[in-house]
């Protein structure tokens, strides 16, 4: 029961923020709502007892990526462009696309509800005592079965970092 309440609370925040994010005129406001969406997603992780994922989501997404987004938005004066109303010519295409998408998702949900015993249930969290310690479990899988992908991802990040430093290097 409590699981459901918490889930719907965070889900509502997530969906609501996402909606607000795409309808704001100011880029900074959108960024803030994106942050709220990410935080709400982290909350859902927490509700599922995936504590490590919860905090890593906050550290990486919110503390890293969103801070970068906000830096860029603030340094590049986007607001001037964003204040201009640009929606006029794209209205009809947007309407058609969104109707198609809504139809598709609605069909999916309806069909999921038809499946026996499935449907949209809110997964309850496993009892805390039955789970191995979170960070350990993630570490076991990262350095066990998924070792290769982990190393490739780290290498990719290293390359990106070096590339960024090389591109940004200039005489101060």
């Amino acid at each position: 029961m409590l699981d459901k309440v918490i889930f719907y609370f965070f889900a509502a925040i997530a969906v609501g923020s996402a909606l607000l994010m795409i309808t704001r005129k100011s880029a900074v406001h959108s960024a803030i709502f994106l942050t709220t969406t990410l935080l709400a997603t982290a909350g859902i992780f927490l509700q599922l007892r995936a504590e490590f994922l919860f905090i890593v989501q906050i550290i990486l997404y919110v503390g890293g990526i969103m801070v970068l987004f906000i830096f860029v938005i603030m340094l590049v004066n986007l607001d001037v462009a964003a204040q201009q109303i640009q929606y006029s010519r794209q209205k009809w295409v947007a309407l058609a696309l969104s109707l198609a998408l809504a139809g598709w998702v609605g069909t999916m949900i309806w069909q999921a509800g038809q499946l026996p015993g499935q449907g949209l249930l809110v997964r309850g969290a496993a009892a805390a005592e039955t789970l191995p310690p979170n960070a350990e479990a993630v570490a076991q899988s990262l350095f066990g079965p998924y070792m290769l992908s982990f190393e490739i991802a780290s290498l990719l990040l290293l390359v990106a970092m070096i590339g960024a430093v090389v591109m940004a290097k200039k005489k101060v």
């Binding site: 900074v28 490590f52 905090i55 550290i59 919110v62 503390g63 801070v67 603030m74 979170n134 960070a135």
Partner: protein, 450 residues
């Protein structure tokens, strides 16, 4: 009707969520007051180091100064710059304050005092939520609608991000030794191994000390908010209550980093030599009570020398308070029935003492050292602290492998690590000094140009 309420009360009290909620409310209510008094302590310590007395007028010995400041800030006119983004202007200090308070949730003041549940990823939680505080700064600078506030805010955020890496690496060194992210486990590991991790990984502690000073924007790393700088800091346009939220967030952050350092490096709520039992153990256990009794005695000694009656009474009251706390501290040691109190009260005492010492070190450094220029600050973070902390982590990893796989004595292995890290640090320092010398030659030689 009353029965209903009684039943409800029983359900609420039995629920596992009640205590954390109560603790949470206590934090939110009490933290501003505590932070206010930490500010008073800072002003008194500052005054002491500067050969003067500090606040003395408001209340006896200035004890009511934080209250007066709070009242003043609440009553100040709320000025919002003309073209400022009102919504973000309102949001920014709240984000800072929330991040600061929330980070205190998993901190364990004693073996039983966990605010929230002892979350599995306690230390990571604190680090992550502290990084949310960056938002408060950046949004505050943005909302002020001033180019220079924004620059100051972005600089401050850049500083925070840079030193976060070094701080994180330093913490990882401690976590490797402790083997878990959980706060209680870390302290218990230190109890089990019989030594505080600061003795095993001193360089990590030092790096964390420096990085945490930069994380909280304290001197000597406080250029973005310095008063004598041209670029106005992110806090400029904030006045009154909003400004006080930022200010309190800074002191809350100080308490958070102090708690983290204490937990990982300084043994948390353990007393010194926690594994020593018997008579020596009991002797050390009497230290807290003895200290407080000493303070009480000193207050009683100074009481007659106060010029004003109110101050005399306050001294006597303080002495009484210290004596009462001392009694509570000594009771478990000498009275067997009170033994159940011991872990909680003694743990709390030692923890608060260590955090207090750490914060005192912050204050001491603030009043002694001049300020780093921003580029020097960033150099220190990226060119010195991060490489040294990375080398330190690798070294500790190697030492632990040697200890577990090869059976080398842990202290020996870690001693080698420390040596290696010091050598690397020495190389870096030498390179830095050479570079500075070259720059200076260029500057002095180039005096003819331009």
């Amino acid at each position: 009707m009353m029965n209903h309420l009684y039943e409800l009360l029983k359900i609420v009290l039995a629920s596992p969520y009640t205590l954390p909620v109560i603790y949470g409310i206590v934090i939110v209510a009490v933290l501003p007051l505590v932070a206010g008094y930490v500010v008073l302590v800072e002003r008194k310590v500052m005054a002491d180091m500067q050969a003067r007395l500090g606040p003395m007028r408001v209340g006896p010995h200035g004890l009511l100064q934080p209250i007066a400041d709070a009242v003043k800030l609440l009553l100040k006119e709320d000025i919002i710059p003309e073209k400022a983004d009102v919504w973000i202007f309102w949001l920014a200090p709240i984000v800072s304050m929330t991040a600061g308070m929330l980070a205190l949730a998993p901190v364990g003041i004693g073996p039983a005092f966990q605010i929230a549940k002892d979350i599995d990823v306690g230390i990571l939680f604190i680090a992550g939520i502290s990084s949310l505080g960056i938002f408060g700064i950046v949004l505050g600078g943005w909302a002020s609608n001033s180019h220079y506030s924004l620059m100051g805010a972005l600089r401050s955020a850049a500083q925070l991000v840079s030193y976060e890496t070094a701080a994180g690496m330093a913490l990882v060194s401690g976590l490797l030794l402790g083997g878990s992210l959980q706060i209680r486990t870390l302290v218990e590991e230190q109890a089990k191994q019989g030594v505080w991790f600061v003795a095993l990984a001193p360089i990590a502690f030092f790096i964390y000390l420096v990085a945490s000073i930069a994380e909280t924007n304290r001197a000597p790393f406080d250029l973005p908010e310095a008063e004598s700088e041209l670029v106005a800091g992110y806090m400029t346009e904030y006045s009154g209550f909003r400004w006080s939220l930022y200010f309190l967030a800074e002191y809350a952050n100080m308490m958070v980093v102090g708690s983290v350092a204490t937990t990982i490096f300084l043994g948390g709520w353990l007393r010194p030599f926690s594994s020593v039992g018997g008579a020596a153990g009991r002797a050390i256990d009497t230290v807290p009570g003895a200290l407080l009794l000493g303070v009480a005695a000193y207050c009683l000694y100074r009481a007659p020398k106060q010029p004003v009656t109110v101050q005399k009474l306050v001294m006597v009251a303080v002495a009484g308070l210290c004596a009462a706390v001392a009694a509570a501290l000594l009771a478990p040691v000498f009275v067997a029935q009170a033994l159940w109190m011991k872990p909680a009260i003694h743990g709390a005492f030692w923890f608060l003492l260590k955090v207090g010492g750490y914060i005192y070190l912050f204050m001491w450094l603030r009043f002694t050292l001049p300020r780093y220029r921003f580029d020097q600050l960033m150099r220190l973070g990226w060119y010195f602290l991060i490489p040294v902390s990375i080398v330190n982590v690798m070294g500790i990893g190697i030492a632990l492998v040697l200890h577990w796989e090869r059976g080398m004595h842990l202290a020996l292995a870690l001693g080698l690590t420390t040596l290696m890290t010091l050598v690397v640090a020495g190389f870096l320092v030498r390179a830095e000094l050479k570079r500075e010398e070259q720059l200076r030659q260029a500057a002095t030689g180039d005096a003819y140009a331009g």
